[in-house]
Amino acid sequence: MADVNAQGGTGLLRAAYRIAWKDVVGDFRRRSTLAAMLFFAIAVLVVFQAAFEPDRQEATRLLPGLLWTTVLFTTLVGLGRVFQAEEEDNAFEGLLLSPLPRGVLYLGKWGGNLALTLLVEILLLPCMLVLFNVDAWGQLHQVFGVLLLGTLGLTGLGVLLAALTQAARARETLLALLLLPLVVPLLIAGVQATGNILTGGSDNGPWLQLLVTFDVVYLAMAPWGFGWLVEE
């Protein structure tokens, strides 16, 4: 059998991919996280729509805030379950006993959560435009771009904090308490950038730069922080 003794970059990427694959496949088979995130997102949208009953102009003004609020809370639902599969048969211990750098374990867990969150967003955004009767189909790809940038940082930091709180009794509350203050700048940048796209605003550069900056900071720090967290 071929044995890549010192795992090179390809071997490490394959390992990270396999961890993410395991989480995504597991979720499709159990129908757990994805279903919960989708149900939650649609419920929030319906409640917002029923509560505000906005006309088209007002809906365009409200949509960025409603979109990012829904994304934030939907992401929290997913993050609360990101280490759930590892509780079975103490599987997380098995990951820690593997000869992989801790950062690769983090990348795998983050990749799985990112894939599920993006999938929900891909389904969520068209639903939102239909439900609020907002004609922004021409800007859909730009809004997706901003969502992607925001989601990278949101899930990047979120998975690290999920690892920190996984052993806590009230872990989902604790996760929200820790995550929300840290992602406020990211959310503000996301809302402003989305608003600019929908209203045809001129300069989106600074908000996009802010999103990219937070993504880089969170994603550079998180693999290192994860390694530090899981060592005993």
Binding site: M1, A2, D3, V4, N5, A6, Q7, G11, R14, A15, Y17, R18, I19, K22, V25, G26, R29, R30, A85, E88, D89, N90, A91, E93, G94, L95, L96, L97, S98, P99, L100, P101, E231, E232
Partner: protein, 223 residues
């Protein structure tokens, strides 16, 4: 082939000292079996040898490498710990679990090799069944199939006979004898001297945080 040496290894949980000056040596083809009461520190010692816990006192060398100054990845590549948990995912089938394990260790087995490993532990016919439906004994067998795929130089086993039926015990002992014959090293914690008796081994007793060779008087710690 593995050469394991610990000198004055300590470990504490908070203020409680669980391991106190552990000296253990096992060379290629050597099998050390740790006996001791519940809570005597056997599992802690195995977890420490697997680098799951950071070494806080004493020295630990594996194959000439000082574990304190060598990366955890390098050390963990040379060993496997099979403990009370099998670390299997219930939503994956047996083949997928082995594939997952192989990717984590950087192994590149063919599908045929994976199926052969599953058949070798008596689980042919269950390769594509979700592990969720496996009994404890079947899970243990599948976990042992991972050992056959990786063939590490050091094997750390915590109560390996639990959940195995008589045929499973005989198969496991045959596998371990072949593994030791190939120069592998085994450190095992067990409550079952009768089942271990089939293996060539050196028995130790872990008591009060100290390790004693069972063949000598208790006043002399193992070295």
């Amino acid at each position: 082939m593995a050469e394991l040496l610990t000198e004055n290894v300590d470990h504490r949980y908070g203020r409680q000292r669980v391991l106190n000056g552990i000296n253990l040596h096992a060379g290629p083809g050597g099998c050390a079996v740790l006996f001791g009461a519940n809570g005597s520190g056997k599992s802690t010692l195995l977890a420490l040898l697997a680098t799951r816990y950071r070494l806080r006192g004493g020295r630990y060398r594996l194959n000439g490498l000082d574990v304190s100054t060598t990366s955890g990845e390098t050390i963990r590549r040379q060993l496997m710990l099979l403990g009370h948990y099998t670390h299997l995912y219930g939503h994956l089938n047996a083949l997928e679990n082995l594939q997952f394990f192989s990717d984590l260790r950087g192994l590149i087995p063919s599908m045929e090799q994976l199926r052969t490993a599953i058949a070798a532990v008596g689980l042919d016919g269950y390769a594509e069944r979700p592990v969720r439906g496996f009994s404890a004994g079947m899970r243990k067998r599948l976990a042992l199939a991972r050992v056959q795929l990786a063939m590490p130089s050091l094997l750390l086993l915590d109560e390996p006979y639990s959940a195995l039926d008589a045929a499973g015990v005989a198969w496991l002992n045959a596998m371990l004898i072949a593994y030791l014959g190939g120069g592998g090293t085994v450190i095992m914690a067990s409550h079952d001297p009768e089942r271990v008796a089939a293996l060539p081994h050196i028995p130790y007793r872990l008591e009060g945080g100290r390790l004693w060779p069972m063949s000598t008087h208790r006043e002399e710690p193992a070295c």
